[in-house]
């Protein structure tokens, strides 16, 4: 018999992370481009803003550049990771259009967006070209952690405002760029997923005794499993890790891995598989009855609900990489957060300083930014360049027209992310 979720209600809470204060989404989107609404959102909801009460009419006044803002967006529109990149690109297009329909940034400056495929063999060259040759004002993107780690230091060196939109690796700000100035990440790091899963295990799954892992044998999979096992140790969770499997990436054959998992018969499987690999694993595991007595937990797999709905069995535990799922797909949400983070930071700086921000003023304004987005409150803590998000989990529900998550649970963002002054590993070791 498979274990089921019994959240303690204290750490792991039932339901959906609250969107507070409630903002009617349509009003919000409509007003997003206009200075007044955006400024009040950026100001009032911002925990770190000194003069947060400012509204647009008494701030601002400086010259707003008349030429449009040039924005480069980069994501995989081909290859395995296009399951993330392609919807993100579509979302970016829609959101930019919305902002422009409302007049643009501060209601005046429109955004000119150019798209680039991340599937290039020369990420550094491409990034340098965009930053120094084509002089984009802002570069948004990167799905792959190897690419984010490559361009991160270059961005700092070129002093190029850059926002990473999907890469989870904790290495980015823990090791690659320890003192970031111009690089931000508006999605949660893998800590949200891996530590969140461990907390679910600790506080909602008391009957689990044995745990196994299936993760892709590349940085994302390794990073996730490493954080998950560290969290088990850090929280002193009373489970035994009976198998840890790393599969090639990409991989089409999981049969022997599944046979091995069947033999070690764990109660719970933590897996950060995604894309074609996740589909293959679920299909082949289902064929081999792996999920009969084992509860699998897929930390970043909700995108398969839309991509291959008929391959998703009912009742598997899925994480949504932040509180995204209840309000739409991951690609839409992460883009939404990223683009509005940029716009709000510019508008906030303009309204506070009275002039249109340069790169430095923008970066200062990004730190400590907080605003309500379509999927909840986006929080980039003061002193940090990384958004923190709550952890959110639920069971695949194939009953409706689209697959959704049922019986959701969530964990507050402070409990799944390190404090600003610690790296993820330092934080886990200190618990």
């Amino acid at each position: 018999m498979r274990p089921s979720l019994e959240p303690d209600g204290d750490v792991v809470k039932r339901g959906v992370p609250p969107v507070e204060p409630p903002v009617d989404r349509r009003t919000f989107l409509k007003g997003a481009g206009a200075a007044t609404v955006a400024a009040s959102l950026a100001g009032c909801n911002n925990p770190a803003a000194g003069g947060g009460g400012n509204n647009a009419s008494d701030g601002g006044g400086g010259q707003i550049p008349s030429e449009p803002l040039r924005m480069a967006t980069i994501a995989f529109t081909s290859g395995p990771a296009s399951v993330f990149g392609a919807p993100m690109m579509r979302a970016a297009r829609m959101i930019v259009e919305q902002i422009n329909d409302n007049g643009g940034i501060l209601g005046e400056r429109t955004i000119e967006m150019d798209e680039f495929d991340e599937n290039t063999e020369d990420v550094a060259q491409q990034y340098r070209r965009l930053a120094t040759q084509e002089n984009y004002d802002i570069i948004l993107g990167y799905v792959s952690s190897a690419n984010a780690l490559t361009v991160g230091p270059i961005a700092e060196e070129l002093e190029q405002p850059t926002i990473i939109w999907d890469t989870g690796t904790t290495e980015l700000f823990d090791n690659a760029i320890t003192d970031p100035q111009y690089v931000f990440r508006t999605c949660a790091s893998s800590s949200t997923d891996a530590v969140g899963a461990a907390l679910v295990l600790d506080n909602a799954l008391s009957d689990v005794g044995t745990v196994a892992g299936v993760n892709q044998d590349y940085a994302y999979g390794r990073n996730n499993w490493d954080l998950f096992t560290r969290a088990i140790e850090a929280f002193g969770i009373d489970v035994e890790v009976v198998a840890s499997r790393f599969t090639p990436f990409p991989n089409e054959d999981f049969s022997s891995t599944i046979a091995a998992l069947n033999d070690s018969a764990p109660d719970f499987i933590f897996s950060s598989l995604w894309g074609g690999d996740l589909v293959n694993f679920i299909t082949q595991a289902n064929d081999r009855n792996l999920f009969a007595n084992t509860l699998p937990c897929f930390s970043g797999g909700t995108h398969v609900f839309a991509d291959v709905p008929d391959q998703v069995p009912d009742g598997l535990l899925f994480g949504a990489r932040g509180p995204h799922f209840p309000y739409g797909i991951l690609g839409w949400n992460s883009l939404h957060e990223e683009l509005y983070a940029y716009v709000h930071a510019v508008e906030r700086a303009y309204n506070l300083n009275g002039e249109y921000p340069n790169s430095d003023a923008w970066a200062t304004s990004m730190e400590g930014l907080g605003f309500d987005s379509a999927s909840g409150f986006v929080d980039i803590p003061a002193g940090s360049h990384n958004a923190v998000e709550p952890s959110f989990w639920g069971f695949s529900d194939t009953g409706g027209q689209n697959i959704s998550l049922r019986d959701p649970v969530w964990i507050a963002k402070e409990q799944v992310n390190p404090p600003v002054d610690k790296t993820t590993i330092e934080w886990l070791d200190s618990l």
Binding site: F76, T77, S78, G79, P80, S82, V83, A86, N119, R245, F246, T247, P248, P250, E252, D253, S255, S256, T257, A259, A260, N262, D263, G275, G276, V279, N280, T283, Q284, D287, R288, N289, D307, V308, D310, Q311
Partner: protein, 307 residues
């Protein structure tokens, strides 16, 4: 005790056989086309990918056209006909068109330059398939779910993989019969030895040539058709299959059917048991094996063509 060993080992063996089946269908075409037509096609693996993509379309179309109106049994038969006949046929037609336009000019080149030119072809084919099917993973498991699973020594096992293994075994036997017993098979073998003499003997070598080529490409397409109901397909996987196809070719020996069978089985078992017992090294073992075979027996296990 015995039951426990069986329940542990049987799934691994069956997995190995399924893997070997796909590898055999992939590698045989490459091997016979090289051995008999002296054409080394780096892009051969792309025909397996093409077969898988076409299968996805065939399965989706069939299910949406008749899925609701007929029973499961009828649907399964229709799907099987589609996968086993229509898919290889479509892939062969594409392959033949490419042969006429792209490959004919490079037959005369040295092996090395054939490799380079077909490296170009694989890049084109990858993007061509991306253009048609998009960059995202494509998956259609209906035939496998219709067949369902079977209980074997305490563990459940998908019937589709057993079916695919059976189909491949029949094909391997047929091919063996073809090359050993039929006239066309003998001519082909003779052509592998000396093309010109066969031509002088009044045989239309071009037509034999095309037949062998079509069989090779069709087999790769069939490999894709048998593969897809079990796993999804993405662009970018072809580079992985390129390497595996060459592993079969090199380990088995150029142009040898027996060799392709042996090599496919060997790689299938190494990968399957390797993944189970030493997951860290599973992929590396295949290439160690490939290098080792080339060092110890450069012509491959069953090859007799001079290296």
């Amino acid at each position: 005790m015995v039951a426990q060993v069986l329940s542990q080992q049987v799934p691994i063996v069956l997995n190995a056989l399924f893997l070997a089946s796909v590898l055999f269908l992939l590698g045989t075409g490459l091997s016979i086309i090289y051995g008999m037509l002296n054409f080394l096609n780096l892009a051969h693996a792309a025909f397996l990918i093409l077969g898988a993509y076409v299968s996805a379309t065939v399965i989706t179309e069939v299910v949406s056209a008749v899925g609701g109106t007929v029973g499961g049994g009828v649907l399964l038969v229709v799907l099987l006909v589609g996968l086993l006949v229509v898919v290889p046929a479509i892939v062969s037609v594409v392959g033949l068109t490419m042969e006429r336009t792209l490959f004919k000019p490079i037959y005369g080149l040295e092996d090395d330059y054939q490799l380079l030119a077909t490296f170009g072809v694989i890049l084109m084919m990858e993007d061509g398939m991306k253009f048609i099917w998009g960059g995202q993973p494509v998956s259609a498991t209906r035939p496998s779910t219709l067949l369902g699973g079977v209980e074997l020594f305490g563990s459940t096992f998908p019937l589709w993989t057993l079916f695919a293994t059976g189909v491949t075994a029949v094909i391997a036997a047929t091919l063996y019969y073809f090359f050993e017993e039929t006239r066309l098979g003998k001519i082909t073998l003779a052509m592998a030895e000396n093309d010109e003499i066969v031509g002088v003997a009044g045989i239309d070598t071009r037509s034999v040539h095309l037949k062998v080529y079509v069989i090779g490409v069709g087999l790769a397409g069939l490999g894709g058709a048998l593969y897809l109901p079990n796993a999804s397909m993405t662009t970018g996987l072809s580079l992985q299959f390129v390497i595996l196809a060459f592993a079969v070719l090199v380990i088995g020996g150029l142009g040898s059917l027996k060799g392709a069978i042996a090599a496919a089985l060997l790689i299938g078992f190494v990968r399957s048991f390797g993944t189970y017992y030493v997951p860290q090294l599973a992929l590396a073992i295949v290439f160690l094996l490939m290098a080792a075979v080339m060092l110890i027996k450069p012509t491959g296990l069953f090859g007799d063509i001079k290296a």
